[in-house]
Amino acid sequence: MSNENRNVLLEVRDLKQYFPVKKTKLREEQRYVRANDGITLDIYEGETLGLVGESGCGKSTFGRTLLQLYPQTHGEVIYHKDGREIDLKSLPKEEMRVLRKDLQLIFQDPYSSLNPRMTVGQIIGEGLTSHGIYKRGDPAMRDYIFEVMENCGLATYMFGRYPHQFSGGQRQRIGIARSLALRPRFVVCDEAVSALDVSIQSQILNLLSDLKEKQKLTYLFITHDLSVVKYISDRIGVMYLGNMVELAPTEELFENTKHPYTEALLSAIPVVDEEDKRERILLEGDIPSPVNPPKGCKFHTRCRYCQKKCTEEVPEWINIGNNHYVACHFPLNGEKG
């Protein structure tokens, strides 16, 4: 799949997000958790970009920082709208608030992300009134909410109920309906299906794909589940310890893996067919601390191809053709056997 002729929706340049670590001693030097440590990528209009990585590698932080839910530490997020290029970081709060209509987020946990004090109708409708799409108490709004609910597979009688009266799958649909009601252009799905059981997962994934077709959405799909990401994504980015290590179209990433970490991740996907069975690469040791990451390539402590250069130099983020980006001194070569 070629991306050259597509329009860029979001341009991310060297995005960094550090969180201060609480000091334990009075005169200690301030240390930071480097949740995102310089991420550069483009997100194209109409694509689904999958983002995978171990827990704690900064995937969710990346999604939230993109949407400016955290004040970003460094870098630029440029949003392209109607030919204008808007740097989200420099926007005043009120303008950012208005832009949130376009940039939405579906949360990981359908239990804690819905206000327990509000009915489904209020949860979905609140964004509409606050962005002036409908006036408060407009009867047309009710009809519109019904329509959105039906699109997301929710029955209209649920309108006046509270979130605690629903199951996890239904709540996730409420979360989806809430974000899609605003007719956004870009949606970050932050582990949107991880909390659900497998049969509900596929329902929700299909729902998301349908809605994407209907509303011409762009997704950033964050997950740790490789089979989900393979199913839904056009391109996949792999993150490790706050950095992007590989980014490629889905087919390309699976067929022509370049980064040893990606290789290890992919080898962990369970396969049904005995003939497809490949060598399982076990990553040894724990993920290093993001407060004090290893020097050079952050992955070198667990990489089975590690060489001296890896411990000293930070590998560059390079395009090796075919829209395939990788950050490794010694990218793997050849097709996987």
């Binding site: 949407l67 939405q104 992300s113 964004g127 606050s130 962005h131």
Partner: protein, 330 residues
């Protein structure tokens, strides 16, 4: 439906608890040393012949119903109580119902004012500090509230008197009326407000300290929740996020603590009323205890009991208003 049945159940329960407490109270006051008849007759003993005094003593005892069996006394007392006859005050030599009205009005007025002041200040302050958590403003308020919370009311009272009645004499320090004034209507009300300023100020200080800290803690808990991020991600105004989404969810712990605080206010004002010489329930309770005036003391104790029991039910009802997940059942 569930709600009606629940309330009936609660009512039955209240009545049950009420009677048990009334028995305990009655027993405790009966067991207390001191003879109410002697206290009532007072100094007459020295000016009367012994047998005449004895006759008067017996007569008074008969009138107060104290020569009967304790169990009978209890039933007579509780029966009268329920029909609105609160007994005879040995100290004031009048029916309790006649002497209890004015102090009760004063106490309730005082407490209502204090309550309004406390809520008007502590809720916005608690929210503001939670939003600016760990900032300079928050830290300063934290220190001030812990000071206000931990200094006993009578010390604050003395400090307030020193500041606003001695150094800058702008407020009166005792009573609720200017002595000798016969102002009426608005004039009288203003005079009363002027007298109430210092007591209300003192009562508010510790309330503000405590409630502000509770509001802050509850808000900080809520502001951490994911649905607050959802609300921000929706693109709501920050005011809506904080006052509608966060504060409404923080209300449950706030309702609990304020209910108990309100109930406590009626008893806690004893100290304030004594310091400022306000004829209120607290002062009356102390005076009556000193004089073994059991009718008055018991009446007031039962007032507190009813207050606490009703407060509990009101708290439960308030929960359902505040949180749709709470249902009144069983």
């Amino acid at each position: 439906m569930g709600k009606g049945r629940y309330l009936i159940k609660r009512f039955v329960y209240i009545v049950f608890v009420f009677f048990i407490i009334s028995i305990l109270m009655f027993a405790i006051y009966k067991a207390m040393p001191g003879d109410p008849v002697v206290m009532m007759l007072g100094d007459i003993q020295s000016s009367m012949k012994p047998d005449a005094y004895q006759a008067l003593y017996e007569q008074t005892k008969e009138m107060l119903g104290l020569n009967q069996n304790v169990v009978v006394q209890y039933f007579v007392w509780i029966g009268n109580m329920l029909t609105g006859d609160f007994g005879f005050s040995t100290q004031y030599k009048r029916e309790v119902i006649q002497i209890i009205g004015a102090p009760m009005t004063n106490t309730i007025m005082l407490n209502l004012f204090a309550m309004v002041v406390v809520f008007l200040i502590s809720i916005p302050l608690g929210i503001a500090t939670a939003v600016r958590k760990n900032g300079v403003f928050d830290k300063a308020v934290q220190v001030l509230t812990i000071v206000g919370y931990s200094i006993p009311a009578f010390i604050i009272a003395l400090l307030a008197i020193f500041a606003f009645a001695v150094k800058i004499p702008i407020f009166p320090i005792s009573g609720l009326k200017t002595a000798g004034s016969n102002a009426a209507g608005l004039q009288e009300a203003l005079d009363m407000l002027w007298h109430m300023t210092l007591p209300v100020l003192v009562m508010s200080v510790s309330g503000i300290g405590g409630i502000t800290r509770y509001v802050r803690a509850a808000m900080i808990d809520v502001l951490r929740m994911d649905y607050i991020k959802t609300a921000r991600a929706k693109g709501l105004r920050e005011k809506t996020v904080i006052y509608i989404h966060a504060f409404r969810n923080a209300l449950i712990p706030i309702v609990t603590i304020t209910t108990w605080w309100i109930i406590g206010l009626f008893g806690g004002s004893i100290v304030i009323e004594s310091v400022f010489l306000i004829p209120g329930l607290g002062k009356m309770l102390i005076d009556s205890l000193m004089q073994r005036d059991f009718s008055v003391v018991l009446t007031m104790q039962m007032f507190y009991v009813v207050l606490s029991l009703c407060g509990n039910v009101l708290m439960d009802i308030a929960y359902t208003v505040v949180d749709p997940r709470v249902r009144l059942e069983n």
